[in-house]
Symmetry: C2
Subunit: 493 residues, 2 copies
């Protein structure tokens, strides 16, 4: 059945509704019939797979190896690290039984009360506890360190309000867990992985990010420091896109992971953990897309170039087919993923709208008149500009255009982001302006009290103390107390 | 800490113990502190990743796309397909609550009784129900078909007796689910995926398999036909290594998945599902490995060639380093994964034994005398044969040797398997001989009664009605009744 092309709600009308509609209409994901969970559809998953592959290569280039740890965590593990349990243990899926049985009427199943677990198991919300419980057996000497492990898996947090990709009860992610012989090495690893995330976001996703360190309040439960990359969406809100944690010796101590150092003295191992998730899909969609649909960076587009023929009869189509064949071949040689859509059951106008909705970066249209003139119509998705170009050499030109688009959407997003970063010294002004979105660089006195007041009064939070910003002391805009540095404050997803 | 190299139990002494020890000592996997679950260690996971990548490419070459469906399945979904619930619903992990809270003494967490789910959720043992519940929304017309979807994920079945890779409560797998407009097309797809599995097993894993169809008793719960690949382990037992199911319209009807055919008439969609799991790791290990450790097919070995230097002083090591550099470079050019292990903290003898244990297919040893003579010692893991060869052109020779090893271990496994397939006409003889392992081709009268009696009296089961075997009618060896064909009977994992 030819799918009806519905119009999207415009971003300017209702940004949130635009996002929700786009995710579904572009066939990325949909709500599952399981509370708070999503189905990632083939088109959405193809983008996620590209992200995975590229990130995985980057991790491995730093010496990380993949492994797999159990989905279920004994309840008692959670209580081992005191801060961790406060932050994570509460809202999670709890397995209490291991068997169902046929009900009395014989037409359904019920939980078998005799199959109750002695100790309940929870579905991992994150795996520090089970992994450090395992590391205990793997780490004995400084020679076993560093231990650099990552897993790609599903995790579950019982979220009350969910949105596709941005916040779902179950989501897919990678979680890296490393153990080190020294504090310095662990801190350096946590920062290194943040840079890997930032490079990936900017170079592959074309999403500019602010790197920084979280305030104590916003830290991961159990971390000494949480590093973050924060991206700005088109509504000016911040989206935390990846975090890397320096965990100190907290988990080493909680799970008794000791090693003999070079002096043969026992020491607790130092830890990091770091993760990005399917939430990146949300960042990708919301940074670039427009009222016509997705705009995908060529580096992540499942189809980078689509070719659509225009024809009135089979004879014309045959000619176009013949002209397109070498273009497709050349594009494949160049490593470009290309689709030639000569399906007969959809009109060209439908195809155009559908590929725009799906965010295919480059569209080539070839008709009988083009063949006569030796030309082809080229449309680039990022600007929607059309251009008529010589057919000769069009594959190589398309390849160059893909690189241009990759650069352009990054520059566009960066220009937008930079135009919406403000220094602000006055709390009243801040309260008014923050409603319209944007990142605010404000002096902060470093107290949790001020932080809580800002959050309560404006729903904005301290996203991070940004790196790479020239810092001068000043006065906290809320408390009027001295402040050593500016922090980045914004409303967020 | 330099790990002590323990000796393995010999296969001839205790095959089962040999396997259990090998999995742990070769750093493939270990028992987790969660009942029945395993930790897949980096070395084991690297092999699994190679399997995944190659299988995934093969699936995609047949038009399959990846997607992701929820981990949790509402209990009521299971009762929708009557046979399916009988086969699967019983032994599974049941989520009943979604919150923990701090206990009264404040030093632990307990299940919050107020956070009980209205309907319990089970952790997927397989995903037919949740996927067909989703397909309902994706399939409306014959134009939406075929729908060819696969997911790589974790599943959970509450097994009572577990063994690493072979049978664990949680395991990793892929499950393909397809929907079709006709019975013929669905049956062809189920058979096609069996061939994909068989080709993968034989060409990549170097594991010869018997393809066939299961008896009704051994079918997947809810299938009309289950196709299987059966491999023979070195103890003569069968290991079911992959299955592909023709599900008829059972799930289409259970989840009301109807499409309008070309005549605009509603029809129920036809289904297949097919999967292989981390169980393949067990098949891989048990088919090829020996008393010295793993034997890996080059196509799946994380390290294909290891180079170990022999030296007495830094000067000699410098010379070996210089000679090895171009060999490493050339091997990488040839697409061979190579490791040069010039670590100073382990003796060569330790390295040799460790790489044998890990199954690295080719080992090159280079010492001062070799450099003088322009030679290198080459050891192939499959035969443990050593040979001294010219240093000149050794990289290219090693590449050829990898291909030879890949072929050789397949031929060796096939010769072993073929030598242990017996035709048998006499049940008393069968009862005696089956204890020593092997595949028995026996006439079967087709009744579940005979099948049950064989299983009860010999612990052997009908593995399949094999394809590609010339069949002649005969007499059932148990019942004496007429039988149209021979079936493959064996004890199994």
């Amino acid at each position: 059945m030819a799918k009806e092309l519905d119009f999207l709600t415009k971003r300017s009308e209702d940004y949130s509704k635009w996002y929700n509609e786009l995710v579904v209409k572009a066939d990325l994901a949909e709500q599952a019939d399981v509370r708070g969970c999503m189905v990632i559809k083939p088109y959405g998953y193809a983008i996620w797979e590209k992200m995975q592959r590229i990130l995985d290569d980057k991790f491995k280039a730093t010496g990380v190896q993949n492994a797999y740890f159990p989905l279920l965590i004994p309840k008692s593990f959670l209580s081992r690290e005191a801060e961790h349990v406060e932050g994570f243990a509460k809202e999670c899926a709890v397995v209490t039984h291991y068997r169902l049985k046929t009900n009395e009427t014989g037409d359904g199943v019920v939980v078998d009360p005799s199959a109750r677990l002695e100790e309940e198991l929870i579905i991992r919300p994150t795996s520090e506890t089970i992994i450090w419980n395992t590391f205990k057996n793997w780490i004995h000497s400084y020679r076993d360190l560093p231990l650099l492990v990552n897993q790609w898996c599903n995790v579950m947090r019982w979220e009350m309000r969910t949105r596709l990709f941005l916040r779902t009860s179950e989501f897919l992610w990678q979680e890296g867990h490393t153990a080190h012989a020294s504090r310095e090495e662990a801190e350096e690893r946590a920062k290194l992985m943040l840079r890997v995330y930032a490079d990936f976001a900017e170079q592959v996703m074309a999403v500019p990010v602010v790197q920084g360190v979280k305030s104590e309040t916003e830290r991961f439960a159990g971390a000494l420091d949480t590093y973050t990359i924060e991206a700005m969406m088109q509504d000016g809100k911040a989206l935390q896109s990846g975090t890397s944690h320096f965990l100190g010796q907290n988990f080493g101590k909680a799970f008794e992971v000791q090693f003999l150092n070079k002096e043969n003295q026992p020491e607790y191992a130092w830890a990091t953990s770091w993760g990005v998730s399917t939430r990146l899909m949300g960042a990708l969609i919301m940074t670039h897309s427009d009222d016509n649909g997705l705009v995908l960076p060529p580096a992540l587009a499942p189809t980078q170039v689509v070719i659509v023929p225009i024809y009135k009869n089979q004879e014309q189509l045959d000619k176009v087919d013949a002209a397109v064949a070498p273009i497709v071949e050349r594009l494949k040689e160049l490593g470009v993923s290309v689709k030639y859509d000569n399906a007969d059951n959809k009109r060209p106008g439908f195809k155009f709208a559908d590929y725009e909705l799906k965010g295919v970066p480059v569209r080539l249209v070839l008709g009988a008149r083009d063949l006569e003139n030796g030309t082809v119509e080229v449309m680039r998705r990022d600007t929607l500009q059309k251009e008529t170009l010589p057919l000769e050499g069009i594959a190589d030109r398309a390849k160059v255009l893909l690189d241009e688009i990759q650069q352009n959407i990054f520059q566009k997003a960066k220009a937008f982001r930079d135009a919406h970063i403000y220094e602000c010294e006055d709390y009243e002004e801040f309260k008014t302006r923050v409603k319209d979105g944007g990142f605010f660089l404000c002096h902060w006195d470093g107290t949790a009290e001020t932080e809580a007041r800002i959050k309560e009064e404006t729903q904005a939070t301290i996203r991070c103390v940004p790196f790479g910003v020239e810092q001068t002391p000043g006065t906290d805009m809320v408390s009027g107390k001295p402040a050593v540095a500016r922090v980045l404050i914004a409303r967020s997803y």
